[in-house]
Structures are given as C-alpha cells and as structure tokens.
Subunit: 407 residues, 2 copies
C-alpha cells in the first residue's frame, strides 16, 4: 500500500471512459460498468467477500471477530460527469479498498468493515444524484424512478435491464440502520480551500443541500429571415436573461456560500434559420443554509416572472429536487480528528459544497467525511487532479478512523 | 387544377415527416426522400419527362416547339426545418407542377418549361442553405463540402452515398447560363406584409443576403457545488450576454430591416452539476442592404470582445457564409406584373427577407419570385399556413408568367 499502488490503481480505473477531453463514465454505461468490474476484481484479489446488490452497488466485506456485530462502512463511486476527471469518487473507492487491505493484514477487528462502490452518484445521466446510496438508505421511490430517462430517451428501467437488473426489485437493496455502526467517506475537496491553506485533511461538518429546478421557456418559433425584431417571441432571448438572473441572484449571496448554475440548456427546434420557440434549462442552487437556498430559488422565480412579462414569453419553473443540508455525526468527526493526530497531520473542519453518498448513508449510520486537497479546486473537468501523496495521507487517516470505529 | 387538387397534393406531401409538432423533412432523410419521390410520381403521372441530377435535384420537363430553345424554369423545395410547416417550398413545387399541367393542356409553347425540386434549401441539416440550386449554378465547392456534417456527425458525403449519390460527382449537375431563358419561383411570403395589406401577390425586387456566424465561447468547466461564484469562468453566462448582444444590435437597426437570431446553441459538457466550460452558437444576420448587415456583424463582434474581456472567457467568431443581397431581373419582374394584371389580381413589389433557390438560379438566368400571403407571417413552425385559394391565385399568375416567358 504505497504510492506505486495508488498510481497503478488510478491508472487501472483510468482505462475506462477516457475520451478526448477527460473521462466520461455515466452510470450503467459501458465505461462505468467496466470500471466497477475492475474494482470488483481488485476486491476479490484482496480476498474480500464481494457481493452486488439489486441496484448494482458493489460491496466488499472484511469479516469481524464478533459474529453479528454491526458494520463499519466506507466507499464512494467511480461514475463521472461527461468530460470529468478520474479523482472525484475514485479516490474514495481506492482509499476504502486500500484501508481494508491494510486492516486485513493487521488481523481481525471486532466489527466487520465494508467498502462500497455506489452506482450513479453523479446526476449527469438521470438528473438524480447519489442514486445507489439513496436506494440503500431506502429513500428511492420506485414509482418516481419509473419515469426517469436520460437525454437520449433511455429509461432507468431499460438501463438497469440491459445490465440484468430490475427496477421493480431495487427495494431488495435497502439496508437497515441496525446493520451499521458508522459510515466514513473519503473524497477530494472539489474546492480550493485545503490546497490554498496547505492543510492535508478536511473534516466535513455538514454537506450542502442542492435545490434543482427545471425552467422551461415557451416563445414562438418563426422564420429568422422574415420575422421583424419587434414581432418576435424568441425563447432563447428570454432564457439568456434567466441565465443571467441565476448568476446575479447567486453572486449577490456569494458571501453566504450560495452558488447557482445553469448547467444544461436545450434550444428547440435548434436550426440556424428559425427563431427559437422553446428552451429548457436545468438549474442547480446550493448552500449550507436551507433558508439561503430557498431565498435564492424564490428570487430566481421572481426574476423569471418579470422576464416573461417583459418579453411576452411563458416561463415555468419546476422543482425537481430539494435536499436539506446534512450535518455529519459529531462522534465520527471526533474519531477522524483523533486519527489525524495519530497519523500526525494537520486538519481543518469545513463544510462540503457538493453532495455525496455520505448524505444518504447518514440516514443509516452515524456518518463522516474526510476531504483531501485537489489541484486548484478543479473538479468535474479534465484538469481534476489529486497528488498520490495526498491520497496516501487520506488512506492513512481513513485506515485509523475505520480501525478505531471497528476495533 | 382546382382547389381540390391543391388540397389533395398538399395532403399527399404532408404524409411525409409529420411529427408531434409540425413537419421535419431534413435533406436526404427518409421523410424528405419520400416527399420528393411522391412529387416525382406526380410529374410522371402528368406525363412530364423526369430526370434526377447528380445532387438528387429532380427536374420535370415539358418540351417546347422549337428544338434547342432555352428553358423557362420554375420550382422550389420540399425539405423543411425541424418542426416546420408544409408550405415553405412545397407551394412553389406544387404551383410549378400545376402550371406545367395547365401549359401542357394548352399545347406546346416555343420554349421548353421545367419544374425543379431542389435538394437541401434549408440549412437545418448541414448549415448550408439552398444546396441543390448552388450545385446547379456551379457555386458549390466539393472541397469545402467534404467537411460538412450534420449535428449527428454524418457527413454530407455519407448522406449522399446512402442515397446512391457521390459527392465527388456533383459537378455533373452544373448547368450553363445558355441553357436558360428565365427562372421564376413561387413561395409563401413567410412574413406578415401581404396578409396585413390584403394583397394576394408580392413581386420580389431583391432577396436579402444572410451572414452566418459561428460563435464559440471557452470558459472553464468546474463543479457547480464547490466553485464559488467569484472563481467561475462560466461559458454559458458569457454566451447569454452574446445572445442579448445579437438581439440588441439587430433591434437597433430594425427600421433598416435588419434581423439577427441565435438559432442554435450547444452547451458543453451539459450536466446539471457542472459549470459550462464551452458553448457554441450559430448566428444568422440578414438585411437587404449589404453594408447594414456587415455593420451589424461588426457590432456583434465588438460586443463579444467586450463580454470576453469582462468575463475572462475566450470568444471566437467565425464567418460561415456571407451572401450579398440579390436583385431580381427587371424584365422578369415586369412579366410577373403583366401576368397579375392579366389574371386581374392586385400585387405589390417587395423585398424577400428570406433566402431562396432563386438567389442562385439568378446566376444562370434572369430570375424572379412570386410571393403569396401566409397566415400571420408564420413560417418555420407548425402554424405555417397558406389558404388553397391564395395558392390557386399564385398558380394563375405563375402559369401566365411562364406562358409569357416561354411563348
């Protein structure tokens, strides 16, 4: 378990979904499936007991001394956004595997320890994030998920079926709180704080809750050559103003750690000689205070109403999801901090601006998160990078944290 | 040749490419191919000599009395934009066929008369408009067209090959000016002028020249949850400002008949949890005065430079095509006007804001255009409509125009 192992394992996963720009491993696609199979193979080589649940989440298990004792779990995901990096999620899976290999070498602990690969942490394909851990925590709705489809029109049920899985049977993957003692996820920070401060470990206090909106603008499609400027109801002209309103309302609240993003926009019919008649946008608003997030969403809604009024278009806002911020468990936080002192590295308590599987696992078990620095805070793009040394330090802290929790 | 024939023929063509919203007949696709085959069948039933050229343009011919006399031609197209209507182009093909059927019944004229179905008048698939008439006029560049591909990545050469045609051989479709005496195209106005004035015929004086730009914005893709507002280089936020700049610069010059449209926008990578790193836009600017169009394009370029500067993004503008306005032939104009008086209908001279195949045919022959009203000026959308009575009046005027030119 050294730097060479970290680099080789990262490289092994990097073989899947590498494109011209970064990595694209969308849940249940070829590349993601291959990467998970690869990790499953590593778990088997490490002599862990491996199983796959009804949603395709993979669980590698190291038995404990005490029969029937509750599980100390860790893990993350290997799926990516389109044109993303090879560290977001991956380092948590790799660190979990590395920590279990070390713990196994030390001899049995009292509690069993599990490393999990969750499916569909990224919302890029089905517009729902942390799917695998939602299923495990029993907060996925089969009824609602029957309607999910990707931008190509493939339903979640079809994507599962192509992998031999059955949407109707995913409740079989639900686990009970009594099964767990704790959950700890290691992850890159995906922000610039640790790197700028020169601190190797972040101990997460709370995970920000995203609100996701779909905004649809209806104008009138017409000929771009013969429709005078004064007679247009151009849906894209209204949509452009909505993009700037999201930007402005979030920027106004930047000091309160609010961020707002229009990440997806579709223009219909999408031809150079047609004034756009319809635009759909997907918006993500986050913060660590639920009221700030709600206030931002309200302000966007009001701005949209003013734009529609002025431009003669129709703008509808639909809330796709609204997650409250999730605090981490104070005992787990203290255990991570003690592990940092034991390893001899500096740490800082901090919030997580991004959502993580730990958010859902917190419903099953006292949960915590360990952040490691990443270069320039870059994430969800091809420049995403974490140094093998920093990953190793993370593995050191994760190993001692799991050992303390399971000992 | 009555209202029932007009309705039946429109309905026959309407069987191809009808979707949930309007008609989608993209050049060389199933629906467009089917519609052209259907019209070809009607030409054969009408006992015209039918041939297809090396680009797939279909030509139905009525021989003249004088062997070797130059051709009087008419025609238009049946392809549509995505979610377009069944009148743009279609009425010109239908009217040409109807006029030839009437002329045939009257007995031979001195000159042969041809009705043409041009391929790819709309730029929706390959970003080049009036492709078929460009080929015929000898102004298509095989070298440049080798690079053309649709938004799905199919090249023009592949689309042609799938139809048994060869891009390298399209120069065989070029015709010489000596072959032609005149070209007259009938078309719906695609604007509100004739309907609002209650005038059944527009006689086109000049066709506006479109300038087409591709604008690419490069920012930095990053995580939407963890990238603070002040540290973003969001390509979509810059692109939204470019959309509004195109709108503003065109609106400022609305009295000089300038129109400017962003019809296509693609946002990369296009995921809800990623700040957009790259946006591509396709822009269409038109007017009947070349200097006004150029001034608008310059103003958009300057605005883009200011936006890039302010936002820290990179914005590149590429001119895809730049067509000068094309005046119609004064003799053909006078012949159309005489035909209107003969038929006994009012007419008005007017410009065409949209591009048409007549623009390219004007390089081969003295050219003219006949406009008929369409409901509320709607075009390139599912509400596009022209009344059968107005189409019949157009056929009356076209018939007498062709008779006068070929007599």
């Amino acid at each position: 378990m050294d730097k060479a192992w970290v680099v080789a394992t990262l490289d092994g996963i990097a073989r899947f979904g590498k494109g011209e720009r970064g990595f694209s491993r969308l849940v249940f696609g070829e590349a993601e499936w291959g990467a998970v199979e690869y990790v499953t193979g590593l778990m088997r080589e490490a002599d862990l007991a491996v199983r796959t649940d009804a949603f395709g989440n993979v669980i590698g298990r190291l038995e404990g001394r005490e029969s029937g004792a509750s599980v100390v779990a860790t893990g993350s995901h290997v799926d990516t956004v389109p044109e993303g990096g090879n560290f977001d999620g991956v380092v948590g899976v790799l660190a979990g595997l590395g920590a279990l290999m070390r713990l196994k070498a030390r001899g049995l602990l009292r509690h069993p320890v599990e490393v999990m690969v969750f499916r569909g942490e990224e919302s890029a394909r089905f517009s729902i994030h942390t799917m695998g851990s939602k299923v495990m925590a029993g907060i996925a709705s089969v009824e609602a998920w029957r309607k999910l489809q990707d931008h190509g029109g493939t339903t979640l049920a079809q994507a599962l079926a192509a992998r031999g899985l059955d949407l109707e049977r995913i409740p079989e993957a639900v686990r009970r709180p009594e099964e767990f003692k704790a959950f700890v996820e290691m992850h890159i920070e995906q922000g610039p704080v640790l790197e700028e401060a020169g601190i190797p470990i972040g101990v997460v206090e709370a995970i920000a809750g995203p609100v996701r909106l779909k905004i649809s603008v209806e104008g009138t499609a017409s000929h771009s050559g013969t429709t005078p400027m004064g007679k247009r109801r151009d849906a894209l002209v209204s949509a452009a103003q909505v993009v700037l309103a999201v930007q402005d309302e979030a920027a106004k609240r930047a000091e309160r750690r609010i961020v707002g993003t229009v990440g997806v926009m579709k223009v219909h019919p999408g031809a150079m000689n047609v004034v756009p008649g319809r635009v759909e946008m997907w918006v993500d608003i986050r913060g660590i205070d639920a009221e700030d997030v709600a206030a931002t969403a309200r302000a966007v809604r009001e701005a949209a109403a003013r734009i529609a009024d002025r431009e003669g278009t129709r703008i509808r806002l639909e809330t796709l999801s609204s997650d409250a911020p999730v605090p981490m468990d104070s005992d787990v936080i203290r255990t991570i901090e003690a592990a940092c002192r034991q390893v001899g590295v500096a740490y800082r308590r901090m919030p997580s601006g991004a959502g993580h599987d730990a958010m859902n696992m917190a419903k099953l078990a006292p949960a915590g998160m360990i952040f490691i620095p990443c270069r320039q805070g870059a994430s969800h793009n091809p420049d995403e990078y974490a140094a093998p040394e920093d990953i190793l330090t993370g593995i050191d802290v994760l190993t001692e944290t799991l050992a303390a929790l399971a000992g």
